[in-house]
Amino acid sequence: MGYPGRARGSLGGTMKGMHTTAIAMLALAAACGGGGGEATAPEDSLRQAEAYSADDVDHLLGRATFGITQAARDRIAQIGLPAFVDEMLDFPTDGTSAVETTARTYLVNGTDPVGLEGKFPSTSDITDWWLYLMLRSQHPFQERLALFWHDHFAISSVALRAEERYLMVDYLEKLRRQGIGNFRTLVLTMARDGAMLEWLDGSSSVKAEPNENFAREFFELFTVGADRGYTETDIQEASRAFTGYRNRLDPTTNLRVLEFDGARKDVGTKVLFGDVILPSNGLAADDYELVVNATFAHLDVASWLAEKLLLEFVTDRPSAALIANLATVIRDADYEMRPVLRTLFLSDAFHRRKQEMIRMPIDFGIGLVRATGLMVTPEVMRAELLSLAQVPGEPPSVFGWPQGEQWLSAAGMVERANLVRRVIAERTYQTNNGFAITMPAGTPDAGAVVDHFASLLAIDLAEGERTTLVTYLDTHVPSLGVEQPDPFDPSNASDISNRVRGLVWILANHPDALLR
């Protein structure tokens, strides 16, 4: 059920012409793991729909790719929503795209020694590198998924020292490239990650004094959720197994490296979950995989991952039935993310929950830029996201960012408006770099322009609101004196630079712009 007054499926007169061409798409073979059973209520069902509407298209783009773009809509119209989801989930992971190559220049500083370019980024450099990707990537879902994992395996670059901060880039690259792979593998990768070993004290955890920090979060945040089948004894036993690493300052590179050191490792046998005996690998290798495998084998990891995915992409309040259905899909897929996400994004459960989650600041800012074409530099976006307390790379704690209505502080509302102001006011940058606001084709009148941007920003205008905005576009506002009627002229550069950008500001201050 959507937000009352927002029946996006039954389009009001105001939006006619924008959405009325429902894109009927035949479902491909519905391979929908669990959840398709007779007893499941439609809002808990993971069954694939038989057809997807234009609203479904916008919903997918808003939830999974920061926001709507006309190009993505056009692509879906061409190949259908299920095939688009397949494309979306099949992003290249070799890191060689032009956008990625340019983004990496943000990590490089003039003072970097030869051969170590990009190895001494500041926290801001790391954020700018990633924001550049979010703003411009041809595969926005790759960045959006990495952002989900960053919140799940939350590390802040602020806590890392200058000589180990490059590890934050490595960590984010793993999330970007391996986040679509197998979750069990990703958990193991994260457990051994250099930034993680520093952040949660794994590198200072030694046989004589195992540090429980990582082991506690391993269970509580990364795999099963607080108190779901493990005890304090398991934390202690796991922390013994999570030993064997140290950091070392390499005197030639002046970089801190994380490396295995058998001498620091507890090679004794550990017992997890009461009766699962873990014989050690000995001094030659770590025992991390043993703990990961035992946890996946004996605890309910699938339900925790299901809940986290639902909280990110579907609803703030997932039902027990929906969690159970998705957990079944996850187990059937043996934790491979691609089929799980495909099922999720094509499901009834996903498409029945439109515009009922709060759009967090990163989604809001990146989505605004991508939808309107009003490009900004990563530095500008970083400054605005700092005001909004959601800087990528710098979550406030190991718990990640707050969710839902916590993003709706009164001050945050003013800061969001100021983010939009900044985006519409970067005229010089946008002009000099060939970016332009994405106008509708042809010679649109004021009504067509209002409908176009309301639709791209997923705003369902009431009739009176639309009338107001059409009048706004058809009004000349002199710098002195009283405004006068003056029909909008799409060929007039000033009308674009002033009125259309102003329209974007007004629309982005609509309550619907806070929802996804």
Partner: protein, 423 residues
Amino acid sequence: MNPLASDRAGCSRRDLLRGTLGAFGLAAFGPLDRALAASPLPLQPAVATQKFLVVVELDGGNDTLNTVVPQGLGNYTLRRPTIALGSSLTEPLDSGPYATSQVRLNGRMTRLAQMYRNGEVAFVHGVGYPNANQSHDTSKLIWSSGQRDGLLTANGWIARYAGLAAPTPLGAVSVRRGRHRALTGGSSNPLTLDSLASFRFDTDTAFTNNHRLRLELVREMLQAQAGSVPRDALLTGHQLADQLGAAVTGYSSAVTYSTASISQSLRDVAMMLQAGFETRIFYTGFGGFDTHAAQGSSTGTHGNLLAALDEALLSFANDCKAMGIWQNCVVAVISEFGRRNFENGSSGTDHGAATCMMLTGGAVVPGEHGVLPTDQDLAQSVLPYRVDFRAVYAQLLRDHLGLADPATVFAESFSSPVAVDVV
């Protein structure tokens, strides 16, 4: 029903809008200078009447041994050969009802010295926490969270207080401290301002009048919409910007503040107090106290910082007195740690442990509290803590701000070696 919607009767917003905005057209755009849409919440007309706390953070670790200087300890001059304050101290504090000969202030703090003699200042010696951490970041996090353990998941003590006792947008406010961790986390969203004057809907400078029209239209559309969580949040944001803007334009005071950032920050606090906001805790401060090299004595880096603080504290006190709210006021000057007892080879000081907290305000119990450093203490590397900072905060919450049970804010158990009674 979607939990975000508050119009649970089920009537659609669009239905409600018909009739309110239906006839809205050009005729509705009055002259540009007309007042913005009326705010349903009236601006507060009177000066704040509730008791309040202002925390002033000296960022970087203030060298309190060169701020509130213990007298008659041989190790002080022995261990600080180039930076010890000898002749460059304030006149003695040995007059008035709280006369002390045990400490004197850095010579740049003459105003605070006079306030002390007037019975408006308290010093709490030996403030810290168990197992002092000498990392800026970690120690700040301990002070900000009020926790010694579990720092990675900790939220701020002011955020917790605000969530319990002041859950309005202005219940707790920070000025010029960014998104300070003392105010983040938990269910509340305390307001974090860069400065009062900068908290507003930024103008599109290329088209100022058009921007004003846009703002009006946004407000009129919000006013016309039925209540919902996002709509109400936006409207509250607009009201807040109006209220803070009115606080700036409506402020009048005979008190002069210097242009130093801490003076301007405390002036922002005074503006909010004069506007009558319900703010219980203000958080502000300034940096530069990480004086590892050439910190100077009463002149030089450290002395200049203290002079800025001294001037700001007096201006703020005078402003509060002019408003008649000095008796409601406690200003707590804190820092994440003190510095080493001995100077380093660069005529500076490295990170230390316990610190001297300074309190001013009509509500404080003046004089000296806690335990003064001894000569034996100064023979050590860092000062030991005798008062847990949480004991001071907890007393301020209970006896000053009226929070029944401070343990609801400071849940981690602690025992202060020495009890304090500062308000």
